[in-house]
C-alpha cells in the first residue's frame, strides 16, 4: 500500500494498491511503449529540429500501413492467431508507420505509399516458419532508396543529419529506448551493436590520427542511436536466441562500418541491416529459442 499523507476515499484505494499492475506498468504490451516513445520523438523532431514534414505525408504513411496490414492479414492469416485478435496486429503496423515517418523523407506521395506498402507486405512475403525476417520499416526504406538510386528518381531519401549531434537527444533516446528494450529484453542487441560499431570507429579514428572529438561527433548522431535502439531490436524479426542475436548485431556493425568508410555510403546502417536480415533464419536454425511474443499466450509458442 502506498502511504499517502491524507486519507483516500475507499473507492479510490484500489488504484493506489501496490499490487495494481497499472501503477507499475500500465501497458502490458510493450508495443504501446514503443508507439508512445516513437510518437514523442516524432513530435520532438517536428517541433524542435525543424523538420519540414507535411501532415498529409504522415497521414498517408499510417493509412497505407494500416490498410496493407489489414488486407495482408486477411489474405495470409497466421495460423496461431484467432480472428478477433487480428486487429491487435495494427499496433505493429503503427510502429512501422512511425519508423517510416521518422526516417524516410520524400517530396512525393507515391514514394511514401510505395515504402509503406512494401514495408508491411514484406512481413507476409518473406517469412519462414511463420516468422518474418525483414524489419518492415527497414525493408521499406531500403527498397525505396534502391529504387531512387538505380531505377528512377523516386523522390525519397534519408536525412542522416536531421537530429544533429546533441547530447540532449542522445540522452532522451537512450533513456526512452532503454525502457522499451528492458520490456522486450533486447538490451543486449543494442549494446552489442553500439559497442562493436564504436570500437570499429574508434580504431579507425586512432589509425587516421584524428582527435577524439571527431569520434564523439560520429557516434552521437541521433540517427545512429535511433537505429540502434529501435530498429535492430525489433524482437519479432531478429534471431530468437541470445547468442544468435549478439553475433547478428556484431555482423551488422561490421557491415555498416564497411559501407560507411569503404564505400562512403551515408545510409550504411540501413543497407547493413537489410543484407544481414535473411541470416536471421540461419541464426534461428543454429540456436534454438522460443520466438518472442508481444503478449504471453497460453498455448505453446512456435519457433
Amino acid at each position: 500500500m502506498l502511504k499517502l499523507p491524507f486519507a483516500l476515499p475507499r473507492s479510490l484505494t484500489k488504484f493506489f494498491d501496490a499490487s495494481n499492475s497499472l501503477l507499475t506498468s500500465p501497458f502490458k504490451d510493450a508495443r504501446y511503449y514503443q508507439i508512445l516513445f516513437l510518437s514523442v520523438f516524432l513530435l520532438l523532431g517536428v517541433s524542435t529540429r525543424d523538420w519540414s514534414l507535411k501532415p498529409i505525408a504522415i497521414a498517408i504513411t499510417f493509412a497505407t500501413c494500416w490498410l496493407t496490414q489489414i488486407c495482408m492479414i486477411s489474405i495470409f492469416p497466421s495460423p496461431s492467431q484467432p480472428e478477433k485478435e487480428r486487429w491487435t496486429s495494427l499496433k505493429s503496423a503503427t510502429i512501422t508507420g512511425l519508423g517510416l515517418s521518422l526516417l524516410l523523407r520524400s517530396d512525393s506521395y507515391g514514394a511514401i505509399v510505395c515504402a509503406a506498402f512494401l514495408a508491411i507486405a514484406s512481413k507476409f512475403i518473406f517469412r519462414t516458419n511463420g516468422k518474418h525476417w525483414f524489419n518492415p520499416a527497414n525493408f521499406g526504406i531500403v527498397m525505396v532508396l534502391l529504387l531512387d538510386q538505380y531505377v528512377w528518381n523516386n523522390h525519397a531519401w534519408v536525412s542522416n543529419g536531421q537530429w544533429g549531434e546533441d547530447s540532449l537527444y542522445a540522452l532522451v533516446f537512450l533513456g526512452l529506448g532503454g525502457i522499451v528494450l528492458k520490456k522486450v529484453g533486447r538490451w543486449d542487441t543494442s549494446f552489442m551493436f553500439l559497442a562493436a560499431y564504436s570500437i570499429l570507429e574508434g580504431l579507425r579514428n586512432l589509425w587516421l590520427g584524428w582527435t577524439w572529438d571527431v569520434l564523439a561527433h560520429r557516434l552521437t548522431s541521433g540517427s545512429l542511436l535511433l537505429f540502434a535502439l529501435f530498429m535492430i531490436t525489433d524482437p519479432r524479426s531478429i534471431p530468437n536466441a541470445k547468442n544468435a542475436r549478439l553475433i547478428w548485431a556484431v555482423a551488422i556493425a561490421v557491415l555498416a562500418f564497411i559501407f560507411r568508410n569503404v564505400f562512403f555510403n551515408s545510409d550504411a546502417m540501413f543497407y547493413a541491416l537489410f543484407l544481414i536480415s535473411p541470416l536471421t533464419v540461419l541464426g534461428d536454425r543454429l540456436w534454438k529459442a522460443p520466438r518472442f511474443q508481444w503478449l504471453p499466450k497460453r498455448y505453446s509458442i512456435q519457433t
Binding site: 523523407r105 517530396d107 523522390h155 543529419g161 546533441d166 587516421l208 572529438d213 551515408s266
Partner: protein
C-alpha cells in the same frame, strides 16, 4: 632568399581559397518589376566559395581564389581524393561563380500597397538583394630540416597561370618537411592535420602562380581552379583550413546536381529564416540585415548547423535576382551532364523563365552557407545528393504603405492598421537580427503614425 609564402593561405585555401563577392546585376527581369542594385559591401569575412557539380561519383570541383597579397607568395594545398592528370585540371572563370552567387543570393522583394479607397489590385515590384565581399588573411610559420621525405611527385604540369604538383606522401613528417624545404611555409600543427588525409590515401594538389603566365593573362587577380575526377567521396576537407584561423570561417558551397537538393550528411542542415515582412528602411541596410540575421540564427542553433540559403531548379526562378545561367555558363561552372553544349538563349522578360531542357538536362542548385569553427565542426563536411526537388529561397518582404490621400472610411481603417503592422514588422526584425527594438522603431518613425484608436463597434451601426 626565402620567399614569403602565406602559410595560412596555403591551409585556409586547402579547402577553398577565395573571396566571396555577392554582387548582382541591375535590370533583371522579374514579374512586374525591376531590380535595384546596391553597392558592393563586405559582408562576410574570410569566406570561401566552392562549386561542386556532381552526378553519381563524377565530380567537378571549382575553388574560387581571391588571394589578396603578392601573387608571388601565393600557394595552395588541397587534399584531393584521386590522382589528377593535367587534362583533369582547368582554370575557371570568376565571373561564373559570381553569376551563381547572384542567382542564388538572398533577395528582397518589394510590394506596394494600393490606394485603399480605390478598387484595383496592388502591383508588385521586385528589388534586389544582398552583396558582400570577403577577405582572408594568411600568416606564416617557421620550418624544420629533414632529408628523406617519402613524398612522390605524381604529376607536375602547368595550367593557365598556375604551376601544379600532385603529391602523394607516406607520412606527415615527410610531407611537412618537403613543403617547408620547398619554401611553402605551413603553420604549426599542420603535421597532425595532414596525417589523416595521408592515411585516407588522399593526394595533395599543390598550386603556385607562374608570374610570366599571369602577366600574359593581363590581370592581377587569380582565376578559380577547376578539377574533374571520379570518387565516391563527396566531401570538403575543411579541417585543414581551420589551422590558425581565429574564430569562425564562412564557406559558401554551390552544389549542382541533376537529381535534386544536396544536404550535409554529417551535420544538421536547416533553412535560413525566410519570408518575413520587414520594415522598409532595411532596403538600404540589407547587407547589415542579412549579416545580423545569419549571425543570430547561427548562434541560436548553437553554432553547429549548416544553413540552406537557396535550393531551386536552375531553369527558373521566382522572383529572380539574376538571370538564370545559360547552358554555356553552366558548362563553365562544371555541369557535365547537359545534352547540348550550345547556348539555349536568353529568355524574354516575364515572370518565370522555363528553359525547355530534357529531363536529364536538369540542373538543381543548392546553396549552403556554413560558418564553422574548430570546436563545433570537428569532422570534415560530407555531402549527400537527394532527389528532393522542393524549392527554397531566402526572401524578405518589404511592404510599402500607400502614401496618398485616404479620406474614405476604408482609408481611415487602413491608416489605423498601419501602426500595429509596423510594430509587428519591427518585432520580426528585432527577433531575426537581435537589433535593439528601440533603434528599429526610431528608424521606422513609428511614432509619427496615428495611434490605432479603437473605434467602438456601435459607431458604424449608428452613425
Amino acid at each position: 632568399m626565402k620567399r614569403f609564402l602565406m602559410g595560412m593561405r596555403v591551409l585556409l585555401s586547402t579547402a577553398l581559397a577565395c573571396l566571396v563577392v555577392f554582387t548582382y546585376s541591375p535590370a533583371v527581369y522579374a514579374f512586374c518589376g525591376f531590380y535595384v542594385s546596391q553597392a558592393d559591401a563586405s559582408l562576410f569575412n574570410k569566406a570561401s566559395q566552392v562549386v561542386i557539380a556532381r552526378d553519381g561519383k563524377r565530380t567537378v570541383l571549382t575553388m574560387a581564389n581571391d588571394y589578396q597579397g603578392n601573387v608571388k607568395d601565393f600557394a595552395l594545398v588541397v587534399p584531393v581524393p584521386v590522382l589528377l592528370k593535367k587534362e583533369q585540371v582547368r582554370v575557371g572563370e570568376q565571373k561564373i561563380i559570381d553569376r551563381l552567387d547572384s542567382f542564388s543570393a538572398p533577395r528582397l522583394v518589394e510590394y506596394f500597397d494600393s490606394d485603399p479607397c480605390a478598387r484595383y489590385e496592388a502591383y508588385d515590384r521586385m528589388t534586389s538583394n544582398a552583396v558582400g565581399i570577403t577577405r582572408s588573411a594568411a600568416p606564416a610559420m617557421a620550418a624544420k630540416e629533414r632529408r628523406d621525405y617519402q613524398v612522390t611527385i605524381e604529376a607536375k604540369f602547368a595550367v593557365g597561370e598556375y604551376d601544379i604538383l600532385i603529391l602523394s606522401a607516406k607520412d606527415s613528417d615527410g610531407l611537412e618537411s618537403w613543403l617547408i624545404d620547398n619554401d611553402y611555409k605551413i603553420p604549426q600543427g599542420a603535421k597532425a592535420l595532414l596525417q589523416p588525409y595521408i592515411r585516407q590515401n588522399m593526394k595533395f594538389f599543390v598550386a603556385k602562380v607562374n608570374i610570366a603566365e599571369l602577366s600574359k593573362t593581363g590581370s592581377q587577380s587569380l582565376r578559380p581552379l577547376m578539377m574533374a575526377f571520379e570518387s565516391p567521396k563527396f566531401m570538403l576537407p575543411i579541417r585543414l583550413g581551420m589551422l590558425n584561423a581565429n574564430g569562425d570561417q564562412d564557406l559558401l558551397v554551390y552544389i549542382l546536381s541533376p537529381k535534386g537538393q544536396a544536404e550535409v550528411a554529417n551535420y544538421r542542415t536547416i533553412k535560413v529564416p525566410s519570408g518575413s515582412d520587414i520594415p522598409v528602411y532595411v532596403k538600404n541596410e540589407f547587407g547589415d540585415f542579412y549579416k545580423s540575421m545569419f549571425k543570430t540564427s547561427y548562434e541560436k542553433e548553437g553554432k553547429k548547423v549548416a544553413f540552406l540559403e537557396y535550393a531551386w531548379d536552375m531553369s527558373s526562378c521566382d522572383p529572380c535576382s539574376a538571370e538564370p545561367l545559360s547552358n554555356d555558363e553552366l558548362r563553365k561552372a562544371g555541369v557535365f551532364w547537359l545534352d547540348s553544349p550550345n547556348n539555349s538563349g536568353i529568355m524574354p522578360s516575364g515572370r518565370r523563365r522555363p528553359i525547355f531542357v530534357p529531363n536529364d538536362g536538369r540542373v538543381f542548385i543548392t546553396r549552403l552557407h556554413i560558418r564553422y569553427s574548430r570546436d563545433k565542426f570537428p569532422e570534415d563536411l560530407t555531402f549527400k545528393e537527394t532527389s528532393n526537388q522542393e524549392s527554397f529561397q531566402g526572401r524578405y518582404v518589404l511592404r510599402y504603405p500607400f502614401k496618398g490621400e485616404t479620406t474614405c472610411d476604408a482609408g481611415k481603417e487602413y491608416q489605423r492598421s498601419l501602426r500595429p503592422r509596423f510594430e509587428k514588422e519591427a518585432q520580426t526584425l528585432a527577433r531575426l537580427t537581435s537589433w535593439d527594438i528601440g533603434d528599429i522603431r526610431r528608424k521606422m518613425n513609428i511614432s509619427v503614425l496615428p495611434d490605432p484608436v479603437e473605434v467602438p463597434f456601435w459607431e458604424n451601426l449608428w452613425k
